[in-house]
Point group: C2
Chain length 430, copies 2
């Protein structure tokens, strides 16, 4: 890929040499972790292709859009209201933040005790190896956690960064009204950026566009509830991740194509693993590309991950934006309502998440939950105490893993997951 | 103290044996760190007495108030709007959260990677050795940081805990309006707790009561700007800390008495240290009793701490609540405005804090700044990057110390502070 796109990367002010190192590492990891899986659906070809061109063809597409006068908005969080961005003919992309590669560069500036996602994204901007960052006209941040909130201030020195405030008590009337005002302010910001007015018609179209994407991802997710699961958890996660980078319309079509194939698999009783493979939920902090560590280890150890209770998972697509009227206020209010239902651990109290985990455990017939926390992610880490109590009351085993992006603890995680699977096996035999 | 109050502590469901261990440790530490200081003002006698009775006589006072039908509200943060509490004839007290003593108990439940303050307070409630917790009818939390916000949910299982939401972008109109609504909701909560209506007259009186306390603390702080400083930084910090536990009216009188003595010291050119002692600001995370570690080490090493840019310091008393009218909305709006000006690192961006640090450095003639961060306190830790850049631009040396409540790193901190003082000395000689 490198030679073909090197001129484009230069125009984006990328560090070509360092970026080559990144691509080589990613390519090797993808081959060993993803491509090595057995019995993958044929339609994964498309997603493998997207990954192989994730810093190439997709970036060319974004740059072609920009040459045509459109804007690219980068984001890190599913609270960045993408419907508003698309309503102004702009495109939203998820920014790089899932690799250990950029962490040492970040640690020159940032405290080491921050979560790896934050260090990773700041490092990617500093070292100029993320073409999504380099193609973004604006970054949209949010106040979902202390670490991101404060690092956005530093990021703003490197790339224009607009921060939208998310209220933390989700169910108060004043919180919802406040969030509506923040949405209005964000709409004005996007109109300023793009020079385009966001009409009710445009916003309605954008809502439908993103709803279709969420529906496709939900369809895929629901298919994983079958036993045997027709697709691996790692491929499921990968598609959730790609959804933040790919062209929305094309991605939606391709996910539905894959679902057609998986439905046939279900009819044929064809799965990716043995029917009696322990079924796991992974619940917790978000996982950005190429954070495949825990899924990969769990499935190599004989489990199947059937659901991600995650921002890169159910939290993104469970609810749709459903306007109850046709005015701008109706549309924004519907966005307000949908986003307020995302059970992010930034909320207090966040009982909706506990309820969601219990419901998902049932729907996806899970035998156990891996509670996944990025190191020093206080919100998910502390909420794990409540989740553990709730699962214990349901006699559902939970394994808590707090880790970063480095591979140093892989062997230890593998040992712990293997022991966890033995506990599940033991429960089954009783 | 123990025998005299043991029956009272039993009625508060305290763990008597464990509490004795705590008191013994505290007493020894107070003797070695505080009482051993030379040339202390005479009027410190009162504050030494308060500390000696901090789990005794003061708790008896609170319990006498409760027997008389009044309520005690515990808090951890200067965003808990105490004016509203006092307007309902209730009393606000700061809860225990500054000692390593209770951290191991907390770590049985909480992640180790939380900040020591949070682990300490949760441990104090779990192990029942904080009589302020045991005397609180309600705890008021706030959403100033992820760790506290999420641990309040767990705390609520042990003691009724009401969480007030603080907006994080302090200067938007929608943020201020939202905060006003949160203040109104809090007022309703306190009226429910106490069964008393908060009238404009009562709220006005409470505002004046707390303003007087803030004025006294500001007077004390301003006196420390003199050279030589008439009082040690450790004693200054101690008084700021005691202000969260003592009776407000009496405390205000006693601080003013001390200020009278210090004014005479200034006239007599009498200081606690040599006139050429390096003058330091300590800026960063709050320091609850008995967190005296860094002040103690710095002053033992020959420096004088002349100002705390801290919630237990300037952030508490710099601004007053100044109503522009007499209606309830005027009064609440004045509270809104004052609290919004507290330059807490939870705000984004928080340029007001950078401005404040620069102004304080000038006013208190500091030769250097110790930037103090509680371990894993993301807000203050990341904001340190901006503070360091701002101070560098002013050619003011800064030393960053990230630490917890354990004493294991004291020798290392001492070495670092001594080296820092040498740098300051070197700059002076050039």
């Amino acid at each position: 890929m490198a030679e073909k796109y090197v001129e484009m990367w230069k125009t984006l002010d990328m560090d070509i040499e360092k970026h080559n190192q990144l691509l080589n590492g990613l390519g090797q990891y993808y081959t060993s972790a993803v491509l090595s899986q057995k019995n993958r659906p044929k339609k994964m070809d498309y997603f493998d292709f997207v990954v192989s061109e994730v810093h190439g063809l997709r970036i060319k597409e974004l740059n072609d859009l920009r040459k045509a006068g459109k804007k690219v908005v980068g984001a890190f969080c599913i609270y960045a209201p993408e419907e508003i961005v698309y309503a102004a003919d702009a495109t939203m992309v998820g920014l790089c933040g899932g690799a250990d590669f950029s962490v040492p560069d970040a640690e020159v500036v940032l405290p080491r005790s921050l979560c790896p996602l934050i260090k990773s994204f700041y490092g990617f901007k500093l070292n100029r190896t993320c073409p999504y960052f380099q193609s973004s006209d604006l970054v949209v941040g949010e106040t979902t956690c202390d670490g991101k909130k404060k690092v956005y201030e530093l990021l703003n020195k490197l790339v224009p960064t607009y921060v939208i405030e998310v209220p933390h008590k989700p169910d108060t009337q004043q919180g919802k009204e406040f969030w509506l005002k923040e949405l209005k302010a964000f709409k004005a910001e996007i109109e300023k950026l793009t020079g385009k007015e966001i009409t009710t018609e445009k916003l309605n179209q954008a809502i439908e566009l993103i709803n279709d994407k969420r529906r496709a991802l939900r369809r895929l997710s629901d298919l994983r509830a079958n036993s045997p699961a027709p697709i691996s958890g790692l491929d499921g996660l990968l598609i959730n991740q790609i959804g933040f980078m790919d062209d929305v319309r094309r991605f939606t079509v391709k996910v539905n194509d894959l679902c057609d194939e998986l439905e046939q698999r279900v009819i044929d009783n064809e799965g990716v693993a043995k029917e009696d493979a322990p079924r796991l939920m992974i619940s917790g902090s978000p996982m950005a590309v190429p954070n495949w560590k825990v899924h990969s280890i769990a499935e190599e150890s004989g489990a199947t991950v059937t659901v991600e209770e995650s921002c890169v998972g159910t939290r993104y697509f469970t609810d749709l934006v459903e306007p109850k009227g046709t005015t701008m206020k109706d549309l924004l209010w519907a966005i307000d309502e949908k986003y307020s239902k995302i059970p992010c651990a930034c909320f207090t109290p966040n009982d909706r998440r506990i309820d969601s985990i219990k419901q998902l455990a049932k729907q996806f017939k899970v035998d156990g939950v891996i509670y996944y926390t990025l190191q020093n992610c206080h919100d998910y880490n502390v909420e794990g105490v409540k989740v553990e109590r709730a699962l214990k009351a349901q006699d559902l085993p939970m394994l808590k893993i707090e880790t970063d992006y480095a591979m140093g603890d892989s062997a230890q995680i593998k040992t712990r997951i293997e022991a966890f699977l033995e506990i599940i096996q033991g429960k089954r035999e009783h």
